[in-house]
């Protein structure tokens, strides 16, 4: 089956071409939506088929490379448009197409009546196309194509309602938010490109298999590999919204909600995690980078979670939650738990997509209202949304036996066992905050008394929106069972499945086996307790007093403002980077250097010639006698020279 992998990528491409070129003529939303969703559905079906096919094969025969054509070749450099079908990429493909398909279906309902309906589905298909290239690529360059491609889609979709205003630091329009996302991503991509150059210089190839093959013989701690992995990781911080490049993701919420769910929660932002996992063999060679990854992940997790506490925009809360969860994933990667990271990518895709779609359903019902302080009591009005939202919230808070529990717990356990207790502590603290802000949000949105204006008439969303919600909630419930750890008597199927991909890295790192289950049980209990505490506090506090925030703000003062204003990171970047660059470019480089100095010299040379001529022109009086007199003067001079 694997040789048909090209078709998985081709279907969304066909979908986007049909909708993009003929969408304005089709006009019928049903048809456009069906084409868009159908294309992704077909890809998903094919991915499932390949997956089943692979299940039937022996573990060592599950990895294949399908080469389509030579893409770029110059000198010693050659890359192909080739796809690598292995356990990791198939898993990611399943998540991307599966969740993607559900969100496509949801969008048919959500985008109903939008004048750019076809454009929206074109972009969504383009995104799936790019994302599939990213996860299926067998070399860095093709991966980079997907990498930038998803960035482009993110840009296009954030600014999809380009005539809408959006508030943010130095942001007025949704398009500005799109630009910010693209620019910040580009900074990451810049590092990614440098990483690629360095890889090519070191290994002479940019194909994953060949690079990993050569890496097998390298020594741990190689400094080139350190730089390679660090640069790639900086690329990942851009795409996956980690410190220091996380600032774009909260503003990316300017886009339509399905976009937030698909791109800015479930798939694209996990690309960095996938990329690091794909290069696990290289990272294993660079323990220093691994440390950086782990620390960045942990710090991002707690920082974003703390910001999430003080946000009132339903999508902003979820956005910071996403950043925080991504931090977990990197924490996992950093301590060498690649499987756990990918596992969390998968479960996170389920429950976060569900949460975002649920929030979209709420926003839809509330007529574009996003402030949770003006909601409340929606439980009765929109039960499907409420229940799915609640289930997903429990999942993210890590309540057993929901999916989030297994993946998050594995990360925390590994960070304790293979990392350090400090990392575990930060992770646990972030988990507490996560549970707190999630239930603060759930309570403010759905419970208590309605606080919305009288002219609003919330209603439950149409089936095209609720069915994906239910499907995702179901996945959020059962998704974790593929990774039940051994201590709980599970086979940890996902670990088994992914093991061949990470075998090389694990061999290099040679992590110790942990046989003492006691610690694991204790930690598990603690994390369950944390989840329950967060839920209880969050629910109690805000059920009693929906304005509890104001009391806290009054009490803590600056600390609260710090959180509410997101640690002033945007302002700091603006003052430290954006403004100085623009100002220097404008007043020094352009107005002074270009116009005054260079053009000054050029025009000065011209002016000098002009001045000389003007001076000499004085003798050109136009009076014949003067010319004659000058002739005589010339005669005198010539004669004088003859005599002398």
């Amino acid at each position: 089956m694997h040789q048909y992998v090209g078709l998985i990528v081709l279907f969304p491409l066909i979908g986007l071409l049909i909708n993009g070129l003929l969408g304005w003529k089709i006009k019928n939303e049903k048809v456009i939506g069906s084409i868009g969703s159908g294309a992704v559905g077909l890809s998903f079906a094919l991915a499932v088929a390949i997956f089943i096919d692979m299940l039937g094969a022996a573990p060592e025969q599950r990895s294949h490379v399908v080469e389509l054509f030579t893409w770029i070749a110059a000198g010693s450099f050659k890359v192909s448009a080739a796809y690598q079908v292995d356990q990791l990429s198939v898993l990611m493909t399943l998540v991307v197409t599966g969740v993607g398909f559900l969100i496509h279906v949801y969008s048919i309902g959500y985008m109903h009546g939008d004048r750019s309906f076809a454009r929206f589905f074109t972009y969504l298909n383009l995104f799936i196309f790019a994302m599939l290239n990213l996860v299926l690529a067998d070399n860095y360059v093709l991966m980079f194509l997907g990498w930038e491609g998803v960035g482009l889609c993110s840009y296009l979709l954030i600014g999809f309602w380009y005539q809408k205003k959006f508030e943010g630091v130095t942001i007025t329009w949704t398009g500005d938010a799109g630009n910010k996302a693209f620019w910040v991503n580009r900074i990451g991509d810049f590092a990614f490109m440098l990483g690629m150059f360095l890889i090519f210089k070191e290994f002479g190839t940019l194909t994953f298999n060949e690079v990993m093959g050569q890496a097998d013989t390298m020594a741990v701690g190689n400094s080139t590999v350190f730089w390679i992995t660090l640069l790639l990781f900086i690329g990942a911080t851009g795409k996956s919204a980690q410190i220091p490049l996380f600032i774009w993701l909260p503003d990316a919420m300017a886009g339509p909600t399905p976009v937030s769910a698909l791109i800015h929660a479930a798939t694209m932002v996990t690309a960095g995690v996938y990329m690091v996992a794909r290069n696990s063999a290289l990272y294993a060679l660079a323990p220093d980078t691994m440390m950086v990854v782990a620390i960045v992940g942990a710090v991002t997790a707690i920082m974003a979670a703390s910001i999430g506490i003080a946000q009132n925009d339903i999508k902003k809360v979820l956005a910071y939650s996403t950043v925080s969860q991504l931090g977990y994933m990197f924490l996992a990667l950093g301590v060498g738990a690649f499987t756990a990271g990918i596992f969390h990518v998968m479960t996170h895709a389920f429950f976060k997509a569900c949460l975002f779609l649920g929030s979209g359903s709420v926003i839809h019902a509330m007529h574009e209202e996003q402030d949770i302080r003006h909601m409340g009591g929606l439980k009765k009005v929109m039960p499907y949304t409420y229940w799915t939202f609640l289930i997903s919230s429990f999942a993210i808070a890590g309540f057993p036996p929901l999916s989030g529990f297994f993946s998050k717990d594995e990360i925390l356990w590994k960070s304790f066992a293979d990392g350090s207790p400090i990392l575990w502590f930060i992770g646990a603290a972030a988990a507490l905050m996560t549970a707190f802000y999630m239930f603060r949000m759930v309570t403010l949105t759905f419970e208590g008394k309605p606080r919305w204006a009288d002219d609003k008439h919330p209603h439950e969303s149409p089936p095209s929106m609720t069915i994906p919600l239910i499907a995702l909630a179901a996945l959020a419930v059962v998704g974790g069972f593929v990774g039940v750890p051994a201590v709980l008597g599970g086979g940890n199927a996902i670990h088994q499945w992914l093991h061949p991909v990470f075998a090389q890295a694990e061999k290099t790192m040679a992590l110790p086996e942990h046989h003492a289950h006691t610690t694991e049980y204790i930690l598990m209990a603690i994390s369950v307790a944390i989840g329950v505490t967060g839920w209880w506090v969050g629910r109690r506090m805000f059920l009693k007093d929906p304005n509890a925030d104001e009391r806290i703000a009054a009490k803590t003062g600056f600390l609260y403002r710090l959180l509410a204003r997101k640690y002033f990171v945007d302002e700091a970047y603006d003052a430290a980077v954006v403004r100085p660059v623009v100002k220097t470019s404008d007043s020094f480089l352009f107005r002074f250097f270009d116009v005054r100095i260079i053009d000054g010299i050029v025009n000065g040379a011209g002016a000098l010639a002009g001045w000389t001529s003007r001076t000499l022109r004085v003798i050109q009086t136009g009076v014949v006698q003067n010319y004659a007199a000058l002739i005589v003067v010339g005669l005198v001079i010539v004669l004088g020279l003859i005599i002398l």
Binding site: Q625, N626, A629, V632, V633, L635, V636, L639, G640, I642, I643
Partner: protein, 173 residues
């Protein structure tokens, strides 16, 4: 002082004086008449140089044809007198005068007052001088050796005639 020298000096004095008077008269007619006198003196000098044919041509063409044409134009235009030279002398005029005199000094310096250089051998006229100035000799040389320039001269004169007519006649409407 030989008689030849006396004749030369008289003619030279007439030539120089008439030249100076020519350039200083306010009235163009007077100037023209002094110029004719100057040409006469030159014709005399040509005679002393045994160039009879040139002397005659000088009278005929210059004093006769050209100067008559000039007088004719002056009268045709009915010009008023220019203001006296004295009153219009400006810095520029003095400058010109100075430069011109300087040029004269330098030219004379080049020639040498009475001696020096290659001119030293030319204290007397060539014995051939008598022969080459005759009409017969000039004619034979002109129509043999210099026949091409001579014929070309006719084209030049034709062009001058056409040019003069074109420029002097009234414009086409």
């Amino acid at each position: 002082m030989s008689s030849e020298l006396i004749v030369f000096l008289i003619l030279a004095a007439v030539g120089v004086l008439s030249g100076i008077l020519m350039i200083t008269r306010p009235n163009p007619v007077n100037s023209a008449l002094f110029l004719i006198l100057n040409f006469m003196a030159l014709a005399g000098l040509y005679i002393t140089l045994h160039a009879q044919f040139v002397a005659i041509i000088q009278i005929l063409v210059y004093a006769g044809a050209i100067m008559v044409l000039v007088l004719f134009v002056i009268m045709l235009l009915n010009l008023e007198d220019e203001e006296p030279l004295r009153e219009q002398m400006s810095k520029r005029h003095y400058g010109s005068l100075l430069v011109a005199l300087l040029a004269l000094v330098l030219i004379v310096q080049v020639i040498g007052w009475n001696s020096g250089g290659t001119l030293e051998t030319m204290r007397e006229q060539s014995p051939h001088a008598l022969r080459i100035g005759t009409v017969e000799h000039i004619g034979s040389v002109l129509f043999t050796e210099h026949v091409y320039p001579f014929e070309l001269t006719s084209i030049l004169l034709l062009a001058a005639i056409v040019g003069a007519i074109v420029m002097a006649k009234k414009r086409f409407p």
